[in-house]
Amino acid sequence: MTENIDFLSPRLVGDRFNGHSIPLEVLKDLSALEELLVEVAKWHYRNENPQRKRIPKGFADEVSLKVTEIGDGSAIPKIVLCVSTVTGTLFPVDHREYFAKAKESIVTAIDHAQHQRSVAGILQDSHLAYFDRIGRSLRDSEALELNYPDAKRPARINRATRRYLTLAASSVQGFTEEVTLRGSVCEADQRKDRFQLQLIDGRIIDAPIQSEHRDTILDAFQRFRQGVRVMIDGVGRYNRRNRLDGLESVEHISLLDSLDVGARLEEFTSLANGWLEGKGVAPNVDGLEWLTDQFEANYSDRLPAPYLYPTGEGGVQAEWSLDQWEATLDIDLKSKTAYWHALNQSSDEESEREIDLSSLDGWKWLADQLTSLVSGDTGE
């Protein structure tokens, strides 16, 4: 027999959680949260029962956390504390008390992290290490509000607070974070099952060769000299100075097209002001990320891949050579607008237009133009 007690209703904030759905990868974060709650509950038990050398047998086994439903609105998993009512022990422990204290300690620690205050004494170093996994799947604009609906003290776990909490443990050398990286496989050691990934900015990091990815990694390694690049989704290991040291694991790896938009735009992040005859303006990194996302979301793989170049004014120019047509799209990363110009080299027929790339209509217009140039039907 078990008794279900309402325990937590954390709120997941972010576009991915709209429609009260929770991606499976986020469940790993909640699983790590359960582990932390058990450990902190044990710690409170030990603190209040110093005469006891050991945690009562079955302390954790008799308790578990379960998601019973997902609330309306944003994704709010309702988490209950399931306590076994058949303990078989002479001195049953009231788990609820220690789990409630554990929850309070964790909420307080996260709240302190949010305000950049010390968490010393609230949780132990060993507890703080759990934050390396709790919330690791959260992206930049996402958060897990553990103490929802308390608006004054939401205990918001996001990239910043989990990093703060992980690094608050003095013994921790760094933290991990889910990353997407592009680069070339410049070394592969099959004896050690490790490979070296040369990032687009030239840095080289170490990563494991997992059996499921071995063929792709070795294929990319064999074609390193031809400039073949890969894209990797995995868990990155950062040092205390926020520098990526390597990959802990690789979830997905794929070979990239030679004209991959993301890889090419990432190259432009290394340009500094003055790059072109002392006057070229460096493209804004946020703007380049925005453009990468826009191409990913709004530019079909069926369209011809663009050639991309930085402009001296800090923008990006996309270009296509399609039969007799030379088309260019001069993109202003600040205004998110672009100037289209196409010229038929044989007939001198031309078209030009300003388009808004912050709207889907702009991207649709671009797709229509390119499709018509490819098919030879140039009527607008």
Partner: protein, 122 residues
């Protein structure tokens, strides 16, 4: 300098992707007052121009392409010697043209240059 004179234009490494050159390489920027800098091929060869550009001026170039004075004039672009920065300096003047016309001319010049091929690559 006459209509058959080759005007040597340096190509920045970022202006080449997978061997393809951007038409920007032949488009002046507003900062340059719509005038494109080149070297007078009658006064300096492509290798020496590249050496001057990269070593003396300290700019980046993956090589030199060229267009002729006649090709510029056919596109209503005047070619003007500008020896102030250095004696072989020549400007292709786009300033009489609007944006659409500048775009068209830069694409045309690129096409001429590509037909001619690299004059020098290190």
């Amino acid at each position: 300098m006459n209509s058959s004179t080759t005007l040597i234009r340096q190509i920045h490494p970022s202006f080449i992707q997978e061997g393809r050159i951007t038409s920007q390489a032949f488009r002046p920027t507003p900062k340059d007052e719509d005038k494109l800098s080149t070297y007078d091929g009658d006064q300096i060869d492509a290798r020496s121009a590249w050496k001057h550009y990269t070593e003396t001026l300290g700019h980046a170039s993956d090589g030199a392409l060229g267009v002729s004075v006649g090709e510029c004039e056919d596109l209503d672009l005047s070619v003007v010697p500008d020896p102030e920065p250095f004696p072989e300096h020549v400007l292709i003047d786009f300033s009489e043209h609007g944006r659409k016309q500048i775009e068209k001319r830069s694409k045309k010049l690129k096409s001429h240059a590509e037909t001619r091929g690299w004059l020098f690559q290190p």
